[in-house]
Amino acid sequence: MEYRKDYFTDARREDLTEVGVTRRRSDVLGHVTGKTQYYADRNFAGLLHLKMVRSPHHHARIKSIDTSKALKVPGVLRVLTAKDVPQNIYTILCLIQVEPNDEPVLAFDKVRYRGEQVAAVLADSEVAARAGAGRVKVVYEELPAVFDVEEALKPGAPLVNEYHGRNYFTYEGHHCRRVRFGNVDEGLAAADHVIEEMYQSSPIEHAPTETTGCIVVPDQNDRYTCYSNTQALYFTLAVGGGFGGKVDVITEPIAFLSAMLTKRPVKYEYTREEEMQVSSPRAAERIYIKDGLSRDGRILARKVRLYVDAGAYSRHSPYGTTKAAAHMPGPYTIPHVSVDCHCVYTNRTPSSAMRGFGVTIGDFALEVQMDKLARLIGMDPMEFRILNAYRDGDMKAHHKQVEGAALIECVKAASDLAHWPLAERCKAMSSEKREA
């Protein structure tokens, strides 16, 4: 990896000795000798295994739950259902001010996605827990389900989540997170070219090599220790890859309750299949971008309509949707911007944070759109980025002045690296000031 110290040369401190230099990772000796301890690398006497009974339906009313056959399986100690959960609501998100709480720990009235937690089987062994889970009989009445974000917003669509009363998260009285800057209609009217495009992504799994899980152990004096691989303790060892997927703290509440009720250590570990299909993925997004472009390569207006598929419950999606809105219209200075970002509920696995939360899919849409715009007017795509790049002192669409910009320098350095010829006028441009 090379350094380009010819950019921002005066801004760098040269007197640092411990930072700015490569040091061996402090954890790597443990990794290469296999001594690093992950949450599951502990053995507790009397450990119980928790297996979850999950909804086979996308949307259904729970008519009855019969646990009697499961309890007869040798080794099964207890089966927890919603009535065993004293405060049956997932409240973690109040810390980041995402409210209302909209998700039960165990489903009670209905299930809102395939894979939702319905009953927790506690047994001496994994085998017994799995066998028990197979014998819990749940009677459902199937309900119509909705899977498409724009379908979900239409009148008459099945209501996914009663906590919200509608299929979208409400932002201070608005049906979406809005950003308004300049007058986008005027900007579009003044443009030489107007193009509107649609971009779509599908849900993506974090796929850490270590699946999500925890062990909760009762200590003396009514305290409990939770060994967890969560990324966010205060929302709980080493973690075998996170990428955002372990920020939800979703296995811990029911494992805690199980340990409290049984007074025994309880392990709740997602199988690989659960990790793939039940753990929160990166949300699917649908993004419409409508741009007004001048003949000489300036973007005059950008109108963005973005839908985040939150799935059945909020998790971190309302937060991520606001982050997506703040990120628009990308690292460019555009005089007229309008952004509507919708956080939409559908009958699928709740999505949540993943590496680049709120930004990764937006960047895909923005940067493919930029390529289309550049080609439309026959301009080199690097030159087009540099021409429209934000610079220090510019105003962003969310009404915040740009500081510390460095997009132009990155494009220039990438052009050198890839031997991509760059127009002379671009080489003279800088993020720190605008040329006269």
């Binding site: 590496r355 009404h399 494009v411 990438a414």
Partner: protein
């Protein structure tokens, strides 16, 4: 039928820290009797190497070698509050909390050293190698080891410090979206080169060349780990990954690594990277968060390169061979030759 090559690029920025702020992290620093320093956190190292970088930041601030700093993480009973390791906030938020705590600890350490050397603490400096000496006269010196011993057993002082970093919460204006989502942004530009098989629609990424502006690379090899690992993940997102291949249809969801596709070690492009540093005013030694964003620019760069190669726009992820092939067929149907 042929293999066609193309090149595409993309440029991005990425905010450091929890969107809109309001996400405190704390750090406690104390010296042992023998002059090692323990940093107590409730932060989680996901594998990105948080602990290593935090030790470097603490060592830099104290003026001691990194080996003399131990990072103790992840226990809510013994560590002070941390919001968590996400949103590219670890280096920035926790790093700033450690600087604050280490500065307080350092001032006590220098006071004790000053008493031992019978000088003014303002005249003292650390040498980064485990000693404290009078500025300009390195021979008038005491080791950190002896200073810590003296603090404990002679002066009855605790060489310790408390730190917290909080970016105050910003509340977006509902009508206009006026807000402060983040205080600093990292930047990147990626050039992708691909080869598309026009018979199968398969895409092979030949190279990913990126320039990253990261504020300050606190541990350069670890920054490189993030850039290469992220570029691989970006390639994977672009061409392979999804839990719902027929979205919004819920069927055919993969349940294991045989069905959930990711590029293997045989599918790697050539990676080449450069780093630019424009220190962030509020970053710890100027650093910004760089771990998350590294998957972002490769995705559109690859999509644009595919268009450059075969003239097909696939505007939905992942860009599967089926989509590419259908695009090529549609082009051929429109312009038969």
């Amino acid at each position: 039928m042929a293999k066609k090559r193309g090149r595409g690029m993309a440029a991005v920025n990425y905010p450091t820290g929890m969107n809109l702020g309001g996400d405190p992290s704390q750090a406690l620093v104390h010296a042992t009797t023998t002059g090692s320093f323990i940093v107590t956190l409730s932060s989680v190292d996901l594998g990105q190497g948080l602990k290593t970088v935090m030790a470097q930041i603490c060592a830099e601030t104290l003026g001691v070698p990194t080996e003399n700093v131990i990072i103790d993480t992840a226990d809510t009973d013994t560590g002070p509050h941390c919001m968590g390791t996400f949103a590219s906030r670890g280096t920035h938020r926790i790093g700033n909390a450690i600087i604050m705590a280490a500065k307080e600890a350092k001032s006590v350490m220098l006071e004790v050293a000053a008493e031992e050397l019978e000088v003014d603490s303002g005249d003292l400096q650390t040498d980064g190698a485990g000693n404290i000496h009078v500025k300009g006269s390195p021979q008038k010196s005491i080791s950190v080891f002896n200073t810590a011993l003296a603090a404990h057993f002679k002066h009855g002082k605790t060489i310790s410090g408390r730190g917290i970093f909080l970016q105050p919460r910003s509340y977006p204006e509902p009508e206009t979206g006026k807000m402060t989502p983040a205080t600093c942004y990292a930047h990147a530009c990626t050039v992708a080169e691909v080869e598309v098989d026009t018979e199968t629609g398969e895409v092979r990424v030949l190279s990913l060349k990126s320039a990253y502006e990261v504020g300050r690379a606190l541990n350069p090899r670890m920054v490189e780990q993030q850039i290469i690992g992220g570029a691989w993940m970006g390639l994977s997102h672009a061409l392979y990954e999804t839990t719902e291949p027929y979205y919004p249809d819920r069927s055919h969801g993969p349940v294991d690594f045989n069905q959930y596709l990711m590029p293997g070690p045989g599918d790697l492009p050539e990676f080449e990277n450069v780093v630019i540093e424009r220190p962030a005013a509020d970053g710890p030694y100027g650093a910004k968060g760089v771990g998350e964003m590294t998957a972002n620019s490769p995705i559109p760069a690859i999509a644009n390169a595919i268009f450059d190669a075969v003239g097909v726009r696939v505007d939905s992820l992942p860009i599967t061979p089926e989509k590419v092939l259908r695009g090529i067929q549609a082009l051929n149907a429109r312009a038969p030759y």
